[in-house]
Symmetry: C2
């Protein structure tokens, strides 16, 4: 008899940003498979479960992913309720969609639980609204990391007029800068680089498109970090923008 | 003595998608100001608080917004802990950034609490991963509604290669379709229109860019709804895409 598999977003790091549904899944879990980027503090909600660390950082490829999937499948087929805990949200750069379908194709019941994504939490903790009337009509989340090292369409990304949030970009700051400058983005476009979003160890480095790689080096910026690129990240100036936009004296 | 004001994302509708931090804020609240789109079921976490409905749907403008802000300020200055509950996330089309700065400029301590945004929850509940390796490298969230009726840069939005999620678009389906077709998006681009994301009353209407306005009428699609536009919304075909992308037999 197969049990259910939950694919759960554990949020950006702050254990209080877990949803009530994620807590319920953890309480029901007999096996919890936890990714590297998940704060182990959330395991307080599943004291009786068997915990398996299945993290993989950049560099590893399909073998560990296949192994993780087979491990989930095996536990579910042995009748155990499995929770797979992912950092942020399982469907935003989290492979949740892939894993859910792979399991469903093998007859397993899957439930996905959304989580707060790191880019959103980091920006909020730094006082940066990702959208702002009169300044930014939307937000675009992209990952700088790909399996095939293909390049993002930076020109397209700059023309939409949205705030740009880049995940997994620390190792590729030079490429991102070059891509965006060539696409015509202003060299003085504000950039906020946010390490360990939402954790007590969160650090933010404010810079510009032109200087972000140099500033990140001086700051010793480390993964995991998100980049928020856009007018909304202009320090101090946001106050003016907001005052003008709100129009309330 | 001023008390604190919490600007809290109540998530997309499912009360279980509230975060633990939002629950803590509600428990501490003496006054709760609740927007239209928030599920009143979340008020179970603040049985002793005074609840004020401050919703405003499209059409109303700056007067109610100024009124809401002054009301928050007055309660905080009277020493009451205030929670302002917003649908989704306070910083994604929620004016959380504006309100936070306006209050901070008046000496009030503000804490923002992120929430799950409706576009993410709706897509997930429909089995649509917003990002998918080999198919979509990111996601763009935009609102179709503006105060000044300005047009989005549809050409820019289509060229970034990201999944497009449009909020507040039900009344503007014809304009969105025209803008995206003129920008060169394929007429058969899949579109999922999701009403009441994450609630038991959630309904989804699958269509294409060309036919979405007609299909929405036949479906009697009503606000609140989000549109997910992109290859990831192709029904059935996602299974093929995922199987190919995962590469695990």
């Amino acid at each position: 008899m197969n049990a259910k598999i939950w694919l759960v977003g554990a949020g950006p790091g702050d254990p209080e940003l877990l949803t009530l549904k994620a807590v319920r899944a953890l309480r029901e879990a007999q096996v919890v498979m936890i990714d590297d980027l998940v704060n182990p503090a959330v395991l307080e909600h599943c004291p009786g479960a068997r915990v398996i660390a299945v993290g993989k950082r950049g560099g590893c490829r399909s073998t560990p992913q296949a192994f993780i999937q087979r491990l989930m499948l095996r536990h579910a087929r042995q009748g155990r309720c499995v929770v797979r805990l992912k950092g942020g949200d399982p469907c935003i750069f989290g492979r949740g969609g892939e894993e859910a379908l792979w399991l469903q194709q093998r007859g397993i019941e899957v439930e996905l639980v959304n989580g707060i994504t790191a880019g959103l939490a980091g920006a909020t903790q730094c006082g940066i609204p990702l959208t702002l009337r009169g300044v930014s009509r939307g937000v675009t989340l992209v990952t700088a990391h790909t399996q095939d090292d293909s390049e993002l369409n930076w020109a397209g990304l700059t023309q939409g007029g949205t705030t740009l949030v880049v995940y997994m970009g620390v190792a590729r700051l030079g490429d991102i800068r070059r891509g965006l400058l060539e696409a015509g983005m202003a060299a003085d476009m504000p950039v906020a680089m946010i390490e360990n979003a939402s954790l007590p160890s969160q650090r933010e480095c404010r810079s510009t498109l032109l200087e972000m790689a140099m500033d990140a080096t001086a700051f010793a910026l480390r993964s995991p970090a998100v980049l928020v690129i856009g007018e909304v990240a202009r320090q101090g100036a946001v106050v003016e923008l907001v005052t003008a936009a709100v129009g309330v004296a």
